[in-house]
């Protein structure tokens, strides 16, 4: 089999001549251009009061009506070539599954950058129910990531160094013996270096988060500039993460889950205080420092001797917060209103130690919320309290917690007044 394939391939290679290549190009180039022209010519859109209608396709026509009130985010992307030509792609993000945004016909390519900006402003204004010709909403920058800090943060994370070390180990024998096989082997490692460092730098270059009336504007990128807007209240969950060496300058990375939105990076690197300030702006009336974080019971040490010290969870009347990780310390935050469902999971070992995990499910994205290794009774109480918060819904505010970090840690019954109400009469003071 291999021999046959090799001989076929050799014949094929021998038959490639300069003339052949030229003829192929001559045929291919007009075809491709004609296709590109037709694709552009037959793409139309019309903005209505309640929807935008997209019409694409030359032979197979496709009409798509996108309801504006279902719009989760509108993004302007500029791939490298389009950027050189001053063009942009407008992507419409809808909630639910993202089954390949480009293919599903919810992107418009290409518009001039200016046109893309005004169209986006118009769509967002219509979606928000404001006059459509209001123009692009004014924005106020909240955070800018300086390139120097971005470069330093990549240099301080272990992944690029590991990839570089792997590349070095692979390339050494090739250099010593002078064979070229080693260079082939090194390619994946170099791809790893690219992915872990250069691409992170390119995508986070001049990363800016600004605030505007229609939502949070996130833009950044060295080669491809991306620009998207997260409408207010669409942030489902937030994660702060720091790699081991970042703790020394006190940096964190912030990622968010947004329904139907593949992009999750909110801040590639920022000082913790800045990140917390940004989160508190995203989730108004939330004071992260005031959320009482409770450790798991001491017997959880048997299952996680190293991590145990870093596991915490807590809730106030608006958000649920978990902390975990010894080296890569993570803090995850989910507003109660964004919790889709609640699970209590008890592995056999956990049951022997009367422990359980609580998972709060939220829409797709990198952020997963799980409060690990809680006391089993407490886990069920947390789940019951979350269910109660879902029941109360968005328009009811719960009684506000007043205890701060410097207060003595609350006992289990005081964990949350709502909990006590749910647990009454057995687990807490009655009503």
């Amino acid at each position: 089999m291999g021999a046959v394939a090799a001989s076929v391939l050799r014949n094929f290679v021998e038959e490639i001549s300069a003339r052949g290549v030229l003829i192929t190009l001559l045929l291919l180039l007009p075809t491709a251009s004609a296709y590109g022209y037709c694709a552009w010519r037959f793409t139309r859109y019309r903005v209505g009061a309640e929807s935008i209608r997209l019409e694409t396709g030359l032979l197979f026509k496709r009409f798509r009506d996108v309801r504006l009130d279902r719009l989760q985010a509108v993004e302007i992307a500029q791939p490298l070539l389009a950027r050189a030509a001053g063009l942009a792609v407008l992507r419409l993000d809808l909630g639910g599954a993202h089954d390949g945004d480009e293919e599903s016909g919810t992107s418009l390519s290409y518009l001039s950058l200016e046109r893309a900006r005004t169209l986006r402003a118009e769509l967002l204004a219509r979606a928000a129910g404001v006059a459509p010709d209001i123009g692009e909403a004014p924005e106020r920058p909240l955070t800018v990531v300086p390139p120097g800090r971005l470069a330093a943060s990549i240099a301080l994370s272990p992944a690029p160094w590991l990839a570089l070390a792997a590349a070095f180990v692979l390339i050494t024998p090739a250099l010593l013996t002078g064979t070229f096989a080693g260079f082939v082997a090194v390619a994946p490692a170099l791809v790893g270096v690219w992915r872990t460092s250069f691409r992170r730098f390119a995508s986070g270059y001049r990363f800016t988060v600004s605030e505007s009336p229609d939502g949070l504007r996130v833009r950044g990128g060295l080669l491809n500039r991306a620009h998207h807007t997260v409408p207010h209240g669409r942030v489902q969950a937030i994660r702060l993460r720091s790699s081991p060496l970042w703790r020394w300058p006190g940096w964190v990375e912030v990622q968010i889950n947004v329904a139907g939105e593949a992009r999750s990076m909110l801040l590639p690197v920022a000082p913790r205080a800045q990140a917390v300030a940004l989160i508190e702006r995203l989730l108004p009336e939330v004071d992260l420092g005031a959320v009482a974080m409770l450790p798991p019971p001491g017997r959880a040490r048997l299952l996680a001797p190293l991590r145990w010290r870093h596991i915490r969870c807590g809730a106030d009347d608006r958000v649920f917060v978990t902390q975990s990780g010894r080296l890569w310390q993570r803090t995850e935050i989910i507003p109660h209103l964004k919790v889709q469902s609640i699970q209590v999971v008890q592995q056999p070992l956990h049951r022997a130690l009367r422990l359980a995990d609580v998972h709060l499910d939220c829409t797709g994205g990198p952020v997963r919320i799980r409060a690990g290794l809680r006391d089993a009774q407490e886990a069920y109480r947390i789940a019951a309290a979350q269910a109660e918060r879902s029941r109360l819904g968005p328009h009811t505010t719960l009684t506000t917690r007043t205890d701060r970090l410097d207060d003595p840690p609350p006992t289990r019954a005081e964990y949350d007044p709502q909990l006590a109400a749910v647990c009454a009469p057995k687990y807490g003071p009655a009503g």
Partner: protein, 161 residues
Amino acid sequence: MPDLWRVPPQAWRGLSPQLRRLRRLLLAAGALPAAALAALVGGTLLGPPGLLAALAPLGAAVWAWHAIGRAWDAWRYAERDDDLLVQHGVLVRRLAVVPYGRMQLVDVTAGPLARRFGVAQVRLHTAAATTDAVIPGLAPAEAARLRDALAERGRDRAVGL
């Protein structure tokens, strides 16, 4: 725990006995030929004592028979005023709480064999892919009732993303 969830014990519902029957039938359909094959191979290789080789698949089948029963027993669900509780698992115990307001759709599925036995599976979907709320075996009438009840309550309490 019932006082924690404020669900009276009789409000917890179990699965249809037909599901247990279906699973045990499938088990028997697999285990009996396996035992026969083991006896045949053992008998030809070792003579009459080799027939005892059939005991291994049979023993496994007996254990699986009980495991099916325990898993069936452990699966239960309760409709509360504002959410659905689904509890299952023998080794790994799981409890899922799905608020009606967060449900996006309710699937009722039944394969050809399941239809013959009169069981249907109800699955709840929310905007989160990790939501794991499945009720695997209900009588079709109960499945339809549950689906309609859930859909109706979901409509009343729907919350946007």
